[in-house]
C-alpha cells in the first residue's frame, strides 16, 4: 500500500513544489476499457496520438509496413497512464481502435 501523507505533512494549500510530478500519478488504474488496435486497419496517420489527452498514445521510432504506405510510424499505448477514455477510438478515421472491457483482456 502506498503511504499517503498525514494532514500535518501537507504543504501550505497543498502546493506542489516538484515540477512535472504529475508523471508520478499513474492514472492507468482508473481504466475499465482498454483500446485495442487492429494493425491491419491502422494507416499510421497519428490522429490518436494528437488527440490523446494523457499523452499515453506513444509514437515509437520503429517503421512498419502499412496499407497504402511502404513504411510508417508505429504507435503503442502507455497503459501506466491510459485511462481508457476512448477518444482515440472515437477519432480514428479508419476505425482501427476498439475499446474492450478490461475483464475481457
Amino acid at each position: 500500500m502506498k503511504r499517503h501523507p498525514t494532514w500535518k505533512e501537507f504543504p501550505l494549500g497543498c502546493v506542489v513544489t516538484t515540477p512535472g510530478s504529475a508523471v508520478l500519478f499513474e492514472t492507468g488504474d482508473w481504466r475499465s476499457f482498454y483500446p485495442r488496435t487492429d494493425e491491419d486497419k491502422c494507416i499510421a496517420c497519428g490522429v490518436c496520438w494528437v488527440f490523446c489527452p494523457d499523452n499515453s498514445r506513444r509514437k515509437v521510432p520503429r517503421k512498419v509496413k502499412r496499407p497504402g504506405a511502404m513504411y510508417a510510424d508505429y504507435f503503442d499505448f502507455n497503459f501506466k497512464y491510459c485511462k481508457g477514455c476512448g477518444i482515440c477510438a472515437a477519432e480514428c478515421p479508419s476505425c482501427a481502435i476498439t475499446m474492450i472491457e478490461e475483464r475481457e483482456k
Binding site: 499517503h4 498525514t6 501537507f10 504543504p11 501550505l12 494549500g13 497543498c14 506542489v16 513544489t17 515540477p19
Partner: protein
Amino acid sequence: MTEPKRIAMEVSIAISEAVRQCDADVISAYPITPQTHVVEHLAEIAAQGHLDCEFISVESEHSALSACIGSSAVGARTFTATASQGLALMVEIMYIASALRMPIVMAVANRALSAPINIWCDHSDAMLARDTGWIQYFVENGQEAYDMTLCSFRIAEDNRVMLPITLNFDGFTVSHVVESLVMLTDEQVREFLPPFAPLYRLDPKNPVSMGPVGIPEIYTEARKAHDEAILASRAVIDEVWADFGKRFGRHYQAVEHYRTEGAQTLLVGMGGLTESMRGAVDSLRDKGKKVGLIRLRLFRPFPHEDLRKALGDAGTVIVFDRCLSTGGPGGPVASEIRSALYNLPKRPAIVSFIGALGGRDVRTSQFAELIERSEAIAASGSIPDYEMVGVRE
C-alpha cells in the same frame, strides 16, 4: 505625542484610504451597492497616482475574486470588496481562495439577498459565506472599519495564518455614514504592517503548482489542515489586535463585553446595530435591571471558549440575528451559540430573535422591549426555536 487629528470621513472612503496606506499591489472588484464607494474611491486613488497598484476591471464578482487569487498567488498584496449578490457570485471562488491559502482582504458592505430585491442591510450575505473557510469579522463603526482594514492585511499575510479575510460592515448604516475618526500616518502604517512575504509564490524561476486535484485519499486531510489553520489563526488575530492596541490605543477583542457585571440577562449582537443595543442596555440599567451586551466581533474562527466564559453564567441569553436560516433552527448566530453552550453542565436559556432584515429599523426602545419580553419568555419554560420580530400579522 501630539493628539491625533480627528477628521470627518465617509466610512467607505476610510476603508479605501486604509487600503492605500497598506500599499495594496492589486485591486480587483466589481461595483455593487452598497460597497461601490469603496472601489470607486480606490479607482480614483489609483488613477491619480496616489497608489502604485494594478486596478483590474472585470465583468463580474466571480472574475474579480479569480483575478485576486492570481495576484495573491504571485505574492501581490490583494484587496477586493463586494456585497450581497456579488458575494453570492463569489462564493464558488471563495472556497478556492481559502483552501489555496491566499491572504486576500475583502470588505463586504453587508446587504440582504434577493428576492425580493433589496439593497439595504442585513447579514444574509455574510452568512452565505460562513463555511467558505475565510476569517470573518463584523465591525460596528467607521473607526473600527478603518482599524480593521489595517489589521486585516497583517493577520491574513502572517505566515502562520495565510488565509483570506472578510471584513463585514453594515451597508448604508455604516458604509455611507460620515463619521468622526482618527487616521494613522502613512509612516505608522508602514511600521505596523510588514511587507507581504509569502511562503510560496508562482514564479517561473522556481516553479510550483497550486490547486492540484485532491483524490479521496487526500481531500479529507486537506480539509483537516484547513480547519486547523483557521482555528490556529485565532492566536495571531489576538496578537495583532493586541499590538494595534498597544501602538495606537484602540483595543479590540473577539468578544466584547458592555455593562455585563452581574448581568442576569445578556443580549448578543453583531455589526452596527450593537450601538443601538448599548442604548437599550443603558436605559434598562438606569431602571436597575441586570442586563448587559455581548458583542461578537469575530465570527470565524468562532470564539467558542470566549462565549462559554461570557455567557455560561447568565440566566437568559438573547441572540439577535440579522439573517434567517430559512426552514432552519433559528438565526445562524443563535444556533451556533446554542451549540457552543449545549454541553455546559448548567446553561442559560437561549432566546433567538431574527430581525432588522433588508434594512428594517430596530430602535433602541425596541431592543429594550425585546430584552424585557425575553425574561418572560425564558421564565415561561416554553422557549420557541426562534421568533421573527416586527412582523405584521
